[in-house]
Amino acid sequence: MRDSSNVSRRIALGLLVGFVACTTVACGDDDDKDGNVNVTAYGEDFIEKGIPAADVDDGWEINFSSFIVTFQDVKVGDKKFGGPKAVELAKESDGKGFPVARLEDVDGGEHKNPEYVISGITVQGSASKNDVKKTFDWAFTDKVKYSECDAKVDVKDDDSASLQLTIHADHLFGDSLVSEDPKLLFGPLAAADADEDGVITITELKDAGIGAYDPGNKDIKNLWDFVRAQAENIGHVNGEGHCKSEKQ
């Protein structure tokens, strides 16, 4: 016959070990040494080289001569870069992106849910289809916080930790704010060039209805407000890592 106190002890220890494991895995290891985190911003090929016509559902080719994003309040663990810092993303970076900040003496270990703020975006470029060319020069001044980002930053004492703030320019041209798989279109924006001078101005976009575009539950009635709403979703981390976005 087994000793009942022994069984109880084993159950109790098992439960406690399980509880400790359950909590410490989520919290990281306090024994890791502090380190630094290099934060970069990257616009991927779509910003650096342009969006090919083959990737745009209505066949327009989109190129950016300038795509400046202003970052601030970049936070990993308990360390924050206040900023702001404006970064030009429309240059070739060989996949490396461009430096935004270096967070020093971040607690060692794994940090989840990094966050940052985009406080401004200016976009200059052109779109072409057949013999038609349209240019644009737009500034988005909405301040958007990206939090609970789907990334883990593993901080070690060898300066190897990094976080990439990835900007998805194609989101500016989706036809839906709610679809998982929106079409990429430029035609409706091109058609907003009411005076046909080849320049799509913000005023012209404000005067244009959104047609078949789908704003979901948002009360959006013109193309400029639609594109502004799209611009609230261009921030990601480490490529495809999503964040919660919230206009400030």
Binding site: S8, Y146, V178, N233, H242
Partner: protein, 256 residues
């Protein structure tokens, strides 16, 4: 030793690592046509529907705030998406109930008919989501909804008959239809699924912004559809579809 055991058990249970099942109930969901009413629009029309049907899939019910950990565990096979801001990513509350399946609803001919049975974990519900579907037969074939009726201009009595054939994008979700109900193990009754031609919370009509007189002559039939070659009718169709696809015009309510 026994004290240590109980402490360990209590710690584990209170830590949220426990795997207890949350209480759940089932409630019938029925078609509720009581809010398909004549509605006055911002452009001075009174619109009365004689036909209001739609196809939808997979109704999900969400609770206020964060669901209890045990809800998450019980619902691990359900769609519990994180709150990610990205086109198409779910941004409502925590999903805590569901009524999976495909449903064809006729608010006027089938008022009170049973759509299905929802399974709901106990909780304080605030909204519901569903996916717009597409019909597979009859005049709903390939369409999400058919709305038909008469618009009467209040100023001069001119009337315009219309039929709207709404086609939503594939997989288009509606998020945040009001569903205000505290569900306990003692909750009984049915849930009514409503189309609300007038927004119950704001002074808005499903047909706001549509100038029927600019689209047809007195007494003529207007066919709102994506295949029309009339640009003005097409623009009005898109406006109607946008409004129809918002949470402003759907509601789920407790019927006792």
């Amino acid at each position: 030793m026994r004290r240590l055991l109980w402490v360990a058990v209590a710690v584990v249970v209170l830590s949220g690592c426990a795997a207890e099942e949350a209480p759940r109930i089932e409630m019938q969901v029925v078609v509720d046509g009581s809010r398909v009413l004549p509605t006055k629009t911002d452009l001075g029309y009174t619109v009365a529907l004689s036909d209001a049907r739609m196809v939808l899939n997979d109704v999900l019910f969400t609770v206020r705030g964060e669901a209890h950990a045990s809800h998450k565990k019980s619902l691990k096979d359900w769609l519990i998406a994180p709150v990610y801001a990205h086109p198409g990513h779910y941004q409502g509350g925590e999903i805590s109930g569901e009524m999976p399946g495909r449903f064809v609803v006729d608010w006027l001919a089938d008022d009170g008919a049973v759509m299905g049975t929802a399974t709901l974990l106990t909780g304080d519900y605030e909204s519901a989501n569903f996916t717009f579907g597409h019909g597979d037969a009859g005049d709903l074939l390939g369409k999400t909804a058919v709305l038909a009726g008469v618009a009467t201009r209040d100023s001069d009595g001119k009337t315009f008959q219309f039929v709207a054939e709404i086609v939503s994008p594939k997989g288009r979700d509606l998020v945040g239809a009001p569903f205000d109900l505290k569900v306990t193990e003692q909750t009984v009754g049915k849930v009514g699924f409503r189309l609300t031609t007038a927004d119950p919370f704001e002074d808005k009509s499903l047909f706001d912004g549509i100038s029927f007189a600019d689209l047809a002559n007195d007494g003529e039939l207007i066919s709102f559809s994506e295949s029309t070659d009339n640009e003005n009718v097409l623009e009005a169709y898109y406006r109607l579809r946008r409004t129809f696809q918002t949470h402003d015009h759907f509601e789920l309510v407790s019927l006792n």
